[in-house]
């Protein structure tokens, strides 16, 4: 009979086994009776000779060879049966595990996608990128530094790329892609409707080939497409094709007006491929060849400017290439290239050019900004989720411990009946693993919806045009993670029950079960509850601190007044190709038109407005001050503004005057600086009337400072940092610079991207009115966004908001779990002490004192938990303080709140068993519990003291230490009550 058929005929074989042994037994009995022994005695003797029938059967099964699998199936079925038998326990355990495993898995889903996932390309392990950290979006000059690391090159100019590509044989292919993105307005050829906005990305002709990505439809770029003078072509992303063009196959081969130029869409990228750069501010919808950049940007083009570094480089390394040697080769190529530009360098750059270097790093995950932006938050959440998991674990451990204690008698009986200990231990193990696998499966469901919730919290405020390639669906790796966590949980938590099983003494089965419940095991349970209370205080406190920090961040003084203001983001020149001299009248017209909207009090524009997400900076020189050294920080941010900007945005002038209508093309070039600029460059001197300019010292006389404005927080980060130096120049004044990169910015910055509208009376349909007004000026103006300014600021804190929400969520889950644990332990304790409570009430304790007794026990544990948790929370506060904004490491009110919350949870958790205890009917309690007939003296405390033993009216109580019965007078008062 084969192994499989044995398994199938298991039932028959079991019957045969029983029949065979029974035959032996009966034959033996019959033989004994033949010698004259009475049947009852013969049976008794035979049974003694036989020993454990079940044990023999077990050995027989084992020798059949299918034992392991058969019994595994059996054990799993047995475990399921056991779990079904106690639905309360199972439900609690599964829910707890689902929450714990779910929270961790949800975070892990995101961690995996954000930090670990490879690009969906051929052999991502062969991809290496030049540079070691993602950078956005441009860098100007022949020296790069990065967070204090001098000379660490991450972005490159086109010329250097071509040089690397031509000379580095270690790369099978080397591709370049734009580090930022290009705003596009796409219009179907011949259509007159408003253009579709899109994100563009310039890439080299071999970009798709390098990554090994082939077209979903049509074809991808080849090098011939990336030549000056080649017919303009573009590749569309699958996402854009699906979302914006309804997966229309006719898109491929059609001609579109992209920023006013005719491009042919030659192909659609495959579904999973979203580019080599993962960002949260605009995945590319359309890829364009690098050489079409001048077509798009005209005079502000940077492709030929060797000072402008704007390309990320990623290459496929030939197999067998030593990447260290490759890195060294690239470094020497970089020196060679820099050496050829010595003449173009500024004195500062010339001083450090030999310190410039680059690193080659694995590029399989692409250029992800998400890791940088979200990594820290996700790590924090991962830690929090692990804390929740630990609290959940403590619960499960507690439940299993209680269960194992309750099952001790049963286990002992099984050992006495011949079950092998190995089998029993395995039983316990399988039960726990089965339980945790069910919990894990539920956890995956929790994780899936949890990850969706997190994504919603993190990104729900972003515009529809922004799409992030992060999914809530758990990957195989995540599922394996959840499975691993579940199995590990099961194995860890089966240890306690398994240990108890392996130490179960059959003799105990004969004794009273209640003797088995000693104080020591209660202690273990209480310790777990204490740990849970402590961890939940820490979690709650951390959540409250994060929340406080976020509140402070959102309500700080940003140096302007966001109330009653609206921010409009536009692009005027994507479609209409305005000449430079047409821009000033255009914005005057826009402002005049917007000002006529009823209820609008002020309108002003800027290249970029505070917290719009953009930032421009220059190294500046002050007239009359010496040339700065290479290490001196002379950077300042700048923007163009129209007259009335500070009034419109609600910022105060501190000295001098604001920019006004008289600052035009015919008057001297002026600038308004902020307080930080004045402090940084002039110290205590009066800056009014002083002159400065961007770049080399010969520009130092460009602008005359006419006013100082208060510091306005412009960037979307660094809220705890000192204010950045900034200067404002009028839209109406243009300077002619000799340096091409500065001149490019000078021209480009006149395209104002933001309009601030001050409308204190909140006109009803302001969004529609703004749109109409802009369309009247020029229907080709692309409007990205109109938002109340307070919403813009709030959007800046979306990520922190997510972390705070989740920290609260985890804190709440931790608290609920701790309450469940406390309830479990208290309820179990009450159940174990039913008879004791009955005795107490019989001898005169009233209900309230019983309730008080139970509550006292619960509050003791939580009290100790608080005693540990509060100092831990304060300690954590000190660790977190550097990450937080304006929050003290500890806050008495906050800790008091956490304590009160935990106290309330304790009250609820302990009240239910306490009320049950108080409703115990003394007589019932005494009658139902009657197994104990023998007691050791040690177990008998003095009458009337706490913890009086289980007692039965009809039993004689024998002190086995002295082998004598207790005097019955001792029992009389109790007997009197009971009868």
């Amino acid at each position: 009979m084969s192994w499989l058929s044995r398994l199938i005929f298991r039932k028959k074989m079991e019957g045969d086994l029983e029949k065979e042994l029974r035959f032996h037994f009966e034959s033996q009995v019959a033989d004994k009776m033949r010698t004259g022994i009475a049947e009852a005695e013969a049976r008794r003797l035979t049974r003694l000779e036989f020993g454990g029938m079940e044990q023999i059967k077990e050995d027989c099964r084992e020798s059949r060879g299918t034992m392991w699998f058969e019994s595994l199936v059996q054990d799993v079925r047995y475990a399921l049966r056991q779990l079904r038998k106690s639905p309360g326990f199972t439900l609690t355990a599964v829910l707890t595990l689902a929450l714990g495993i779910g929270a961790t898995t949800a975070i892990f889903t995101l961690v995996q996608q954000v930090m670990l996932q490879s690009l969906p390309v051929t052999r991502p392990d062969q991809l290496w990128r030049i540079g070691d950290r993602p950078h956005c979006c441009n860098w100007t000059g022949y020296s790069q530094d990065n967070d204090g690391q001098p000379g660490d090159w991450n972005l490159f100019p086109w010329e250097a790329y071509k040089l690397f590509r031509a000379n580095t044989t270690g790369f099978q292919d080397l591709a370049a892609l734009q580090a930022g993105n290009q705003a596009l307005a796409v219009r179907c050829a011949g259509s007159a409707g408003p253009p579709e906005t899109a994100n563009g990305e310039f890439v080299s002709g071999n970009f798709f080939q390098t990554l090994g990505v082939s077209a979903w439809r049509g074809r991808m770029f080849v090098d011939a497409d990336d030549q000056e003078g080649a017919p303009p072509v573009a590749v569309m992303s699958f996402h854009a094709w699906q979302e914006k063009y309804g997966s229309d196959p006719a898109v491929v081969g059609s001609t579109y007006q992209i920023n006013g130029r005719a491009f042919t869409i030659i192909g659609v990228a495959p579904a999973g491929f979203v580019g080599a750069t993962i960002v949260d501010w605009g995945m590319p919808d359309i890829w364009l060849p690098l050489t079409t950049e001048p077509l798009m940007l005209g005079t502000t083009s940077r492709i030929k400017d060797t000072r402008v570094d704007w390309l990320d480089l990623i290459g496929r390394v030939r197999s067998g290439t030593n990447t260290k040697a490759l890195e060294a080769q690239l470094q020497s190529e970089l020196y060679g290239w820099l050496a050829s530009h010595l003449a173009d360098m500024s004195p500062q750059e010339r001083a450090v050019w030999q310190k410039q270097t680059l690193r080659l790093t694995p590029g399989g995950t692409g250029f992800s900004r998400l890791e940088k932006d979200y990594g820290e938050g996700l790590r924090l959440l991962m830690i929090t989720a692990c804390c929740v998991l630990l609290v959940a674990y403590a619960n499960i451990a507690n439940l299993l411990l209680a269960r194992a204690l309750r099952n001790r008698q049963q286990t002992a009986v099984r050992v006495a009946l011949g079950a092998s200990r190995g089998r029993l231990v395995r039983n316990a193990l399988i039960e726990c693993v089965t339980l945790s696998l069910i919990g894990g499966a539920a956890g995956v469901a929790v994780a899936w919806s949890g990850a969706r919730l997190i994504l919603y919290l993190a990104f729900h405020t972003l515009e529809q045009s922004t799409w992030i390639p992060v999914h809530a669906t758990p990957s195989t790796l995540v599922l394996l993670f959840a499975l691993g966590v579940s199995v590990l949980t099961g194995v860890i938590f089966s240890i306690a029950p398994a240990w108890m099983t392996s130490h179960a003494e059959p003799v105990e089965a004969m004794r009273g079960a209640h003797r088995a419940v000693g104080g020591g095991r209660h202690w273990a349970q209480k310790a777990l509850v204490i740990a849970q209370a402590a961890v939940s205080v820490v979690l709650l406190s951390a959540a409250a601190m994060l929340g406080g920090s976020l509140r402070n961040l959102g309500h700080q003084d940003f140096g302007f007044n966001p109330d009653d203001r609206y921010l409009v983001s536009i692009n005027s020149s994507l479609v209409s190709k305005y000449k430079q001299e047409q821009l000033l009248p255009l914005f005057r017209e826009i402002q005049d038109r917007l000002s006529t909207i009823p209820g609008v009090r002020g309108v002003s524009s800027a290249t970029y407005a505070p917290m719009s997400g953009n930032q421009m900076g220059n190294d500046i020189r002050i007239q009359g001050q010496p040339e700065p050294g290479p290490k001196d920080d002379v950077s300042a941010d700048w923007t163009r503004i129209t007259p009335g900007f500070f009034d419109t945005i609600g910022a105060q002038m501190l000295a001098g005057r604001a920019i006004d209508e008289d600052d035009n093309g015919n008057t001297r070039h002026v600038a308004v600086i902020n307080e930080a600029f004045a402090k940084k460059f002039f110290g205590n001197q009066n800056p009014i009337g002083r002159r400065f300019g961007p770049g080399p010292i010969k520009n130092a006389g460009t602008y005359e400072i006419v006013g100082v404005v208060q510091n306005i927080h412009y960037v979307r980060w660094g809220f705890g940092d000192p204010a950045r130096a900034m200067y404002y120049i009028p839209e109406a004044q243009m300077v002619q610079f000799d340096q091409p990169d500065i001149q490019s910015d000078e021209l480009w910055s006149q395209n104002l991207g933001n309009i601030v509208i001050w409308a204190p009376r909140h006109p009803a349909n302001i969004f529609m009115q703004v749109k109409t007004a802009l369309a009247e000026v020029d229907p080709n103006i692309v409007i990205y966004d109109i938002q109340p300014y307070s919403r813009v600021i709030q959007g800046t804190f979306d990520q922190q908001n997510m972390i705070v929400s989740l920290a609260w969520l985890f804190g709440a889950v931790g608290l609920v779990l701790a309450a469940i644990g406390l309830y479990g332990v208290t309820a179990y304790g009450v159940e174990q002490r039913t008879s004791e409570i009955g005795v107490r009430m019989a001898v005169g304790a009233d209900r309230s004192s019983v309730v008080a007794m139970v509550l006292r026990g619960a509050f003791w544990q939580v009290g100790i938990g608080l005693g540990i948790g509060i100092p831990a929370a304060i300690g954590l506060g000190y660790l977190m303080a550097s990450q937080l904004f304006g929050v003290a490491p500890w806050n008495p009110l906050l800790l008091a709140t956490a304590t009160v919350l935990l106290g309330l949870a304790t009250l609820v958790a302990a009240m239910i068993p306490a009320r049950r205890a108080a409703s115990i009917d003394p007589i019932q309690a005494l009658r139902t519990e009657c197994p104990t007939r023998k007691m050791s003296r040690a177990y008998l405390p003095p009458l009337g003291s706490e913890g009086w033993p289980i007692w039965c009216p009809e039993s004689k109580v024998r002190d086995i230490n002295h082998d004598e019965f207790l005097p019955s007078e001792m029992l009389r008062p109790l007997n009197a009550v009971a009868s």
Binding site: E20, F23, H24, E26, C60
Partner: protein, 116 residues
């Protein structure tokens, strides 16, 4: 029977004894135990706890085959017989056993001569 006359069976010999007894003709478990006891003049008593696992092991190894038949008392019992494979195995093991006892005997004898 007296306890002093009983032996503990050396490891692995139980299978040999069972096969030897079964070789005499189809026989059920109880009879095997009794036959071994008789043949050893009550010196060997096979415990049920060893007998049945051994029978099942031999059956699993296809050295024994089993059929259900009526026993002498009329009850259905499981009768074991030696298979062809079992017979070969029995012969080989009997031979082994003989050689082993001879060799052990030789050595034991030799030691006594050398010591005297």
């Amino acid at each position: 029977m007296k306890a002093e006359n009983r032996f503990d069976l050396p490891q692995g010999t139980l299978d040999l004894l069972i096969m030897r007894v079964v070789a005499l003709g189809p026989i059920h478990g109880y009879a095997i135990a009794q036959r071994i006891q008789q043949m050893s003049r009550d010196a060997l008593q096979v415990q049920q706890g060893s007998l049945y696992p051994a029978l099942h092991r031999l059956e699993y190894k296809k050295l024994l085959a089993a059929t259900w038949k009526s026993s002498e008392t009329g009850r259905e019992a499981k009768f074991y017989e030696l298979t062809a494979k079992g017979r070969t195995q029995l012969e080989a093991e009997t031979e082994n056993w003989k050689r082993l006892t001879e060799l052990v005997g030789l050595i034991l004898k030799g030691t006594l001569e050398g010591a005297s």
